[in-house]
């Protein structure tokens, strides 16, 4: 872990060559020497400058706000495909200046991770801004019919982000993943811990996420001098209305599997943000499950949300869902059906051990908040 602050940014081209040379001479069996060399020769970004990729997304905006309050942070570098300050305007302020005033540390950059060369562009941004820490939050929050775009963003985009992080001397990286990547399976243990293999269903959405998760893991193994953590978030509600679980539960009828009733966990977004910041502060390494407190069977969740289950027989339910998804009549792709049938609870002991943080909102609270947010929307 490199903690020292090196402020002078060398010119871009020179940096690139040093990094390349470094890579060629680096030996994997002598990690300690490697780390020392990195520290002495490689330019390292400032610990007090934090970059957030996907900064204007649902989680990103909340992370930005928390970083603004943090005394350890001098500057925040926001990178997003959505341009500028207007994305931060949540409708409460008509005046952009008010938004700017709330974000005095912010400098925003527009970048599309799906364009070739995004890694170079991002590296330039990070280097110019002298960023030392990086949140990689540029992931889709819901399955999409635009599978090519999703693939470009999540797997190739992650590849670019990792390239840029290496080039720009990032020393702390927090990346996103999902506990859905474990897959819901009949032979899952009651609690999945981080050592459990990722066995996502044959859904492209989840395969892309699992691939990104694996890329970051490999990156971490190859770059021991960078503290890399991967937060596997559980189902999160209530979120923006287009997010997967929030959207599923916003319907009056929720698909369910006849004769099955798996235990579910739900994570409050505030807890997700706190966990991400905790991982960043602790310079955590490795995979960490981030899930909500408590569990209930799906049927009880639906009762509390006053939602009616639409029971489908297991044998044909997934085909029905698949057909409806293809016809764009339902928000759930075929292979997400398993998450309503088999267990996929995750264990967040590791998060507590590393960061000392455990989610504050229990399941009852989360469901109450979700129900309330929905009623508020339905009434007007």
């Amino acid at each position: 872990m490199a903690t020292k602050k090196t402020t002078t940014a060398k010119p871009a081209t020179k940096q690139t060559t040093t990094a390349k040379k470094k890579k060629a001479t680096a030996t994997t069996d002598d990690v300690d020497v490697d780390v020392v060399e990195h520290r002495s020769s490689k330019r390292v970004g400032s610990d007090r400058v934090v970059a957030v990729i996907g900064a204007f997304g649902f989680l990103g905006r909340r992370v930005l706000a928390r970083l603004e309050e943090d005394n350890e942070v001098d500057r925040i570098v926001a990178v997003d495909v959505r341009s500028g300050i207007s994305s931060l305007d949540d409708g409460e302020d008509d005046d952009h200046r008010a938004v700017l005033l709330r974000h005095p540390k912010l400098s925003a950059h527009t970048l599309d991770l799906t364009t070739p060369g995004a890694d170079r562009e991002l590296a330039d941004i990070l280097r110019t801004e002298d960023a030392g820490a990086l949140f990689h939050l540029a992931f889709l929050s819901t399955p999409t019919h635009h599978q090519e775009m999703a693939h470009e963003l999540e797997t190739i985009g992650t590849h670019y982000v990792l390239n840029a992080a290496r080039e720009a001397g990032i020393t702390r990286l927090v990346s996103l993943s999902s506990t859905m990547c474990y897959g819901a399976r009949p032979d899952n243990p009651a609690f999945l811990n981080e050592d459990h293999p990722l066995r996502p269903p044959p859904s492209r959405t989840l395969k892309d996420k699992a691939d990104a998760d694996e890329q970051v893991r490999r990156f971490a193994a190859e770059h021991k001098d960078i503290a890399v953590s991967i937060a596997r978030l559980g189902a999160m509600v209530p979120t923006a209305k287009d997010h997967f679980w929030t959207r599923i539960f916003s319907r009056r009828l929720v698909p369910a599997v006849l004769g099955y009733d798996p235990m579910m966990q739900f994570l409050h977004p505030d807890d997700a943000v706190e966990a991400l910041l905790g991982l960043w502060r602790a310079r955590a390494r490795g995979h960490v499950n981030v899930v909500g407190r408590g569990y209930l069977p799906l049927s009880h969740v639906l009762t509390r949300l006053e939602r009616a289950p639409l029971y489908l027989p297991a044998a044909i339910g997934s085909s029905i869902i698949g057909t409806l998804w293809q016809a764009q009549l339902i928000d759930m792709p075929q292979h997400f059906f398993g998450f309503l049938r088999w267990p996929w609870l995750a264990d967040d002991k590791r998060l507590k051990a590393i960061t000392g943080f455990s989610p504050r909102h229990d399941l009852s609270t989360v469901l109450t908040v979700l129900a309330a947010s929905r009623t508020a929307k339905e009434q007007p």
Binding site: P189, A190, G259, Y260, M263, P297, D347, K349, D362, S364
Partner: protein, 278 residues
């Protein structure tokens, strides 16, 4: 009964939140409300229908982790249900049967079983349960036990790879053999329907055929009025004969010893019971 040191095992894979919701569910899906609602009905079933007789239940430690080892039989896992409620009534302990994938994965049945306290059999789940100080019930015969036909009733099948002994050694837990008679007569397996597997839930290896099922439709799943006998054996401390969980030969030897004891008890119970139904 030998004293057992419960504090020697740190409980790796220890519990997350025991009960984190006001509904009181545990992470394995057990619902105290369902347990409470079903208890009087199950007790009536045990008394009036199955006429269960339990002997030797005082060997079961009143608290703390323990592994019950039972023989397995019948087309449906009635033995898990009967043992669960018989032990609860005799000793006040709510035991957690570890059941096979096809049982816990079956529609309705699996959900009901987990609401009542059953858990999918796996080392990971069992370790967590024991770390919580629960009493686990294992059926080392597994599916072989459920899949044996009427002609082979009361004959114990092979005891797998001794996973339950390994579990006991690793978690420093006592093993209590429990012989059960009545499962085969309650749901006699006369055939296994393996054709048209595509119609079965993907976790079920076969559809059981009993004298009444599927002949009478869902009604055929109702239990026959067999008489049940349950006998607890002396607890066994696996660490007396086994050094560590790598000691595969000693592990299999202990598994075989327990199997022999259970087989002997089963024969005695069958003999003592007399007629299975009257």
């Amino acid at each position: 009964m030998s004293k057992h040191e419960h504090d020697q095992w740190s409980g790796e894979g220890a519990p997350v939140d025991d009960v984190a919701d006001d509904a009181g569910f545990d992470p394995f899906g057990k619902d105290p409300a369902v347990v409470a609602a079903m208890r009087p009905r199950l007790h009536t079933l045990l008394d009036k229908w199955f006429r269960v007789v339990v002997e030797g239940e005082s060997v079961l430690p009143p608290a703390g982790r323990v592994i019950l080892v039972a023989n397995h039989g019948g087309a449906l896992p009635w033995d898990a249900l009967v043992l669960m409620s018989a032990v609860a009534r005799a000793t006040g302990r709510e035991i957690r049967p570890l059941v096979e994938d096809p049982v816990i994965g079956a529609p309705f049945l699996g959900t009901l079983m987990s609401r009542l306290g059953s858990v999918r059999a796996s080392q990971d789940n069992a370790t967590r349960l024991l770390a919580r100080g629960e009493a686990c019930l294992v059926f080392p015969e597994g599916l072989q036990g459920l899949g044996k036909s009427w002609g082979r009733r009361h004959q114990l099948q092979r005891f797998g790879r001794g996973g339950f002994v390994r579990l006991a050694v690793r978690t420093k837990t006592l093993l209590v053999p429990v012989a059960v008679v009545g499962g085969e007569e309650t749901a006699p397996l006369v055939g296994r329907f393996e054709a048209l597997k595509a119609l079965l839930p993907d976790t079920m290896p076969w559809l059981p055929i009993t004298p009444t099922f599927p002949l009478l439709g869902p009604l055929g799943l109702l239990p026959l009025p067999a008489r049940w006998r349950i006998r607890f054996g002396e607890p066994i401390d696996p660490r007396k004969t086994i050094k560590d969980e790598g000691d595969a030969v000693a592990i299999n030897a202990l598994a075989a010893t327990i199997r022999d004891r259970l087989q002997k008890d089963v024969h005695e119970l069958v003999e003592a019971r007399g007629s299975a139904y009257l």
